[in-house]
Each structure stands twice: as C-alpha cells, then as structure tokens.
Symmetry: C2
Subunit: 434 residues, 2 copies
C-alpha cells in the first residue's frame, strides 16, 4: 500500500512504499539524497552504499531527474531532512525513466525562467510545484463557486459554444468551418443564460469556455478563457447583483483560506477577509472618473487600465480593501441588452479587484418593446436576433447577471504578473500550443 | 416577500405574494382559474368577479398564456386544486405580457410535439416543465460527478479546446479560423488530461465541451457534447478504471434517487441500485461477440449498435442490470495511445448502458519507447506529436482514464428517444440555432 509523501511521518520506524518523481539528487560521498515528489508534497530518500543492496546503489547512481520511481524503505527521523523525516531506501524501482535532456529544469525557482519558456515547455513546467499550485487553487475556486451557487438555489447549465452570430454584434468572433456553413465561437453564454432564466429555472450558472478574437497582447488578455457565469431573475437593479457577487466572493475567499492556505503561502498571497469584501465601495461611473481625475490632477473621460489601478489604490486607502464596484455605466459602453437607467446610463456594473476588471454584469432588458427599441437604437438587425427576441416576446421576468473571469480572478488572488500564468494551456495571438 | 408555489400550503389563511408564468387559464362562469408556474412548481390562482377588485377581474380577462405576473392573495384549501391549495387573488400585476401568438403551446404534453418543433422553438419549448426537468436532472449529474471525483482526491482542470491537431489523427475535426492560421476544436481533452496526471496532480477530472465533425444523423450522436473526463495515475489495467466508474455511477444514481425523484417520476424512469451497478458484468470483446453471435444465431465480427442492445438485454436477463462493460478491445479499434495487452488487444473498455455506449476508456501507454513504436505502427508523424511525446520522454507513471458522455447518460437515465433531447441547444449537421 502506497504512502503519500506528506504522510510519511505517520509511519516512523516502519517500512513503507512511496512513489513519485525524482525532483532533486544530491551526492554526498557514498550517500545519495533523493528528493522525491508526489501529489501530496516531497520527501527525502536516502541511499547509502552498504545499507541497501548493491543493486539499489547501482540503480540510484543512474537515476535521472523527473524519472518516476517506486521505493520501499524504512522511515527515520532526521532534523535536517525536509519535513523532519526521510526514507532509508531498501528497494528502488524505476517505473519510467526520464531522458536526461530536460528542456527546462523542473526544480528551479520559476521566477528565474521567462514566461515564454514556461509556456513553450508547458508539459514540463507544470511539474514545478509552485507553478502547479496555481491550478490546485483554481480547482478549489471552481468547487467553491459551484457550491455557493447551488446553495443559493441556482441550477448549473451547459450551453452551446457554437453560435450563428455574436451577442455583441459580430466583432471579435472566431469563425468555425461547420460542414457547409460557418458558425462562430461564443464570446459568452449571454443569450442562453437569459433563455434559461426565462425557461423557468429563474437562477442559473454556467462554467464554460469563452472566446475573444481580439489582437490584444497584454498581461490581462486571453483569447480563450473560462467564464463563471451567473444569471438570476427577480432583481431590481445592479445593486442586487453586487450583493450576490459579494456573497460569492466571501465564500470563495474564505474557502481558499481554509483549503488552500499552502498555495497562498507559496505565492505569499492573501485574500480579503469576509469583512473586507463587505466593505468594497460602490461608486458610480461618474464618481469613479471624478476620483481618478482628482487623484491624478487632470480630468479623465474614460476609465483606462491605469485608472482601474488608481481606483483600487484609492479603495484600499479609503475602505481597506483593494477592490471597487463601478455601477451606472454609460449606455454607449454597454451592449444593447443592458437595462437603461436613464437616457445616459445603464443598470450595469464592473468589479475591479487589485487593479483589474474581473467581473462585468448588469440588469438586462426584459421588456419586449424596450428591447426592440434598443435593437433599433444600436443599429442591429432584429431578424438576426429572432431566437433571442422570442425570450422576451413571450414573457420574461426582470433579471440580470454577471461573469467572473476565472483566470483573472486566479491571477489577482495569487499576484501573478500575467493572466496566462493562470491558464493551463493559454491561447494568444501567437500561441496555439502545446 | 415572495412565496414559491410549491410552498403555499405553509401559508394557509394568510395573504402571500407569488410570481411566475401563466401556464393555463380556465374560465368557469364568472370565475377564472389561472395555473401559475414558477421554478418550484405550479399552483392555482382564483379570480372571482366580486371577490377581488374590478381591476383584478379586468386584468385577468386580458391575460395571455406565458405572461409573467406578480400576485397577492389569500391561501385557501381546495381539494380540487392541484396540490390541494389555491390563492384567492386580491392583486394581480402583469410584469411582462406575452404576445398571444405562441409558436408552440408550452402547456401541452411534449410527446405530442415533434422533436423538430421542440428544437426549432427551443427558447419556448424549454418552458415545458417535463422538458425542463431533463436539465434539472443534468445539473444534479454535474454536481454528483464533481463531488465524487473530489471525494476521491481528483483535481478539476480546464484545458484548451483549441488545438493544433487531433488526438486521433486529424479526422472528424472542425477547423477554426484563428487569426492568420487554422486550428481545430478538440475532440477530447485526452492529451491534456494525461499531461496533468504526469504534472504531478496524479488524478484529474474535467467537465468540458467536445466536438466531433461527423456527419451522423442518428438519435445517439451530437456534434457538440459535454464530456465528463477522468484520468488517474497508478492503475494496473482497465479493470481499475471499471472499478472507478462503478463507484462514480453508484454515487450519481443514488444521488439522483435522493435529489431528483420528482424528475425520475415525471419521466417514469428508474436508475439501477448500488447493488445492481456492482453486478454490471465485464466481458471481453471476444466474449461479447460470441454472446451476440449465440443469441442472434449468426456469427458477428463487429459490435454494432444492434449488438450493443443485444448485450444489454443479455446483461439484464443474466445479471439483473441493463449494462455491460466490454474490455480488451482490438488494437486496430483503439487510438495509438492505448496500452497494448498483447499483439491483438488493448487494456481498454467501453460501458454500454441500456443499449448505448456511454463511456470509452482504457490504460494509456506511459512508456516512452513503446509510445514511439506505436506512433510508427499507426503511421502517425512524431513531429506533430512533439509536445505530447514530451510527457512520456521525461517520466510518466502508469495511468488511464475514461470519458462519460453527459447527454448520453442523461438520455439513458430518463429513457429519452433522442440524445438531442438531453442537450439544451443541440448542434447537428443541419441545426446551429437557436
């Protein structure tokens, strides 16, 4: 029965079996210290010429880094070993030998390797425990998000990513050759989650891929990302949605502190406390621009990435949390389906977290005639939106929702320099592999 | 405070607020009976001329089916009302009026409508409670699957669906115009889940879209589907994988009985008990062909869809469960990465459930030299598989996995005639909308 490396201290004085990857090898005279790595962590193996069989010493002398081995040996205490315990190797079997020409050293500090090299050799770089830990945390985010939504009575949906036209008018879409015709990869499940609210599920969430054919080359853009989508009926305004997102973020942050403290420590990261999340300020789009203008000493007319950072700094200083909700976005900056508040602004919001937009959402138009007016106002073709229009032509309750970018949230929680570090196999304009 | 329709019996004699869609209207002299529908179920509203205000009667007389309304009224007992209780309407507000030209009656038995009409007007047909219930059950499957995998120490991953080449040689792929180049939609996360096992996560699962550009027009094929993917290290053979799938299916079936008994009842469906799942027979590919040959009275050389049904009938009769594992598939019927058992067969398996293949899996080749040999044997270009080969060149433990088709599993649990009924917005050769 295999023992995980993180648990060898429970087996002091006993012979156990461990299995994993050879992370590091250090020779000290006639003794080899092998640092073994498995899913749970690492532990030191000791091969002393004479203590084990000659064959063990022979096998150990030919070991290569990253080879997969199965080991039997006695657990002993050693203050100098990582974790305070080590395994005296009695039997050593190479399950899968690694070639010695590793394109990238797995056991080095990833901060010393370029992101390009890390992504180029992704199959290997993911073995680095610090890099891999990003995705242990991401798995927990997925779990905590889904659990929270189900806890509030939301139903999980899976909708098609192949669509006839885009939700926002057709720009920024990747075309797919679909038999004898052409379709597009969905930018978001927007129309479908609205359809499912209106189907009678009332509250839905979806975890799925979203695609943006934008030529951005920035540390905050991906052409393929995972969107945590939420849509709920019976809201009054975007304030209800911000309340919902506050509850979700509290669940995620508290959960990560509980379940992924080790990952937070690896990255020297902290997450806001429940009290801090409650205190995230909510400012209107106008107030946000005024705040940026006042701090910067010159009037701004747009909230650009620099302005987003200024606002988060302001929120940290004034409210003790590095995040801010901006509501009441101008109509011209939001899609046609956004519910208007007045002639100028909409019932919409963004959440900025640590200087980056991680959520966009809002109340949607649910009134048939208002929707038709807005489609005309935006110069869109109602014919191409016929299926969508049916949702509202035949009775749809007031509703709204938002989407959280999984990779951006991961990036900002751990303080990663580039959002690509938070995607297992990121796609950008130039990168389509591995 | 809104009361859900399934809970009005807790409020007998009190005035409550309910909200939902107008499902049915029946006039009986001066009394209108309105069947209201919300996320929780249905309840009867009573509008009696004289009992409410004149305005209520006026509004009620102009109601259209599917309009969204908000109602205040007293809960009374009535043996004849659905559920035994009803609401005497004191206030009636139309929140969103439905146009009277519904393209499809929501309140009819869906068995009486063609699948083409149901899919053509999907935005409306999903409002039918029986149709919608399919997706309440599907949401539960997603939850139960993820919970089970996490409970066994699996990490959830999200991998790219945009790939340079196919896992199985490039046929059956949809091409995507990706900036100045061409990529393909992934048929499965096969390579990536293997990479993540080898990264050190050891046990991973993924819930994601998969694409098959096949021209099938059958009741069991979709061109886009949701794949429940599993991959785990340290297995000996495909028998370990069948053991794992048995555990997963027990969790899902038991969970559905507990949480979705209402949906099973609507569809007059049952799921196998834990004991029955334990009893699913495991037959080799050769035995399976022999069994089909014996039953049919003529020798078969392939297991075709008819043979799959014969085998499931046999399993029900002989083992009390309408499912069968077939292991040891021939090498020529499995992809190049399948671990060979001998010169003819592989460590692979399928699960047939109620006459349909719902799972394919197997042990994968983890040995570098064996993989290179098989790539050559299959006539594939090692250069195009370079990233994949790296996984094995640098130490990969024995591993394997499988994928369960979410829509097929849903179809077979509920006894749906066509797998498209188990997809919210199915895509086939002709259908790319809504």
């Amino acid at each position: 029965m295999r023992v995980l490396l993180a648990q060898i201290n429970d087996h002091l004085g006993k012979e156990i079996q461990v299995q994993g990857w050879v992370h590091r090898i250090r020779e000290l005279g006639k003794i080899s210290f092998i640092l073994l790595r498995d899913v749970s962590g690492m532990a030191q193996l000791v091969v002393a010429a004479g203590s084990g069989s000659e064959q063990v010493a022979q096998t150990a002398s030919q070991l290569t880094l990253e080879s997969v081995v199965s080991v039997r040996g006695m657990v002993t205490e050693n203050q100098k070993a990582p974790g305070g315990f080590e395994v005296q190797v009695a039997k050593l079997e190479v399950i899968a030998r690694a070639e010695p020409d590793l394109p990238l050293a797995v056991n080095q500090d990833p901060d010393k390797v370029s992101l390009d090299a890390i992504l180029e050799y992704r199959m290997i770089s993911l073995r680095n425990p610090k890099i891999l830990s990003v995705f242990r945390l991401q798995s927990a985010i997925l779990k905590l998000f889904a659990e929270h939504m189900r806890g509030e009575g939301f139903t999980e949906i899976k909708t098609s990513k192949l669509i006839g036209t885009g939700t926002e008018g057709g720009t920024g879409l990747f075309a797919v050759e679909y038999f004898d015709t052409k379709v597009f990869l969905a930018q978001s499940p927007q129309f479908y989650k609205q359809a499912m609210v209106s189907s009678g599920l009332e509250r839905v969430f979806e975890i799925g891929c979203a695609y943006r054919a934008e030529k951005h080359e920035t540390p905050r853009h991906l052409n393929e990302y995972v969107s945590l989508d939420v849509e709920t009926a019976w809201i009054q305004s975007e304030q209800d949605l911000m309340d919902l997102e506050v509850r979700i973020l509290k669940t995620i942050f508290e959960g990560l502190k509980r379940e992924n403290a080790d990952v937070l420590e690896i990255w020297q990261a902290t997450v806001p406390s429940a009290e801090e999340v409650e205190k995230i300020p909510r400012v209107s789009h106008d107030q946000a621009k005024d705040t940026i203008s006042t701090i910067g000493g010159k009037k701004v007319f747009e909230i650009n990435p620099e302005g987003e950072r200024v606002l988060c700094d302001w929120a940290l200083k004034e409210h003790g949390v590095e995040a801010v909700f901006i509501f009441g976005w101008p109509r011209k900056k939001r899609p046609f389906y956004t519910y208007p508040l007045d002639v100028r602004s909409t019932m919409s919001f963004d959440l900025l977290f640590r200087g980056l937009e991680v959520t966009t959402g809002g109340r949607r138009i649910n009134e048939y005639s208002m929707l038709l007016e807005n489609i005309e106002l935006f110069g869109l073709d109602p014919g191409s939106l016929n299926d969508y229009i049916h949702i509202f032509k035949y009775g749809c309750p007031p509703h709204g929702g938002f989407a959280i970018g999984l990779e951006r949230l991961t990036q900002k929680i751990l303080g990663l320099a580039n959002v690509k570090e938070a995607s297992l196999f990121p796609r950008d304009r130039r990168r389509i592999r591995p």
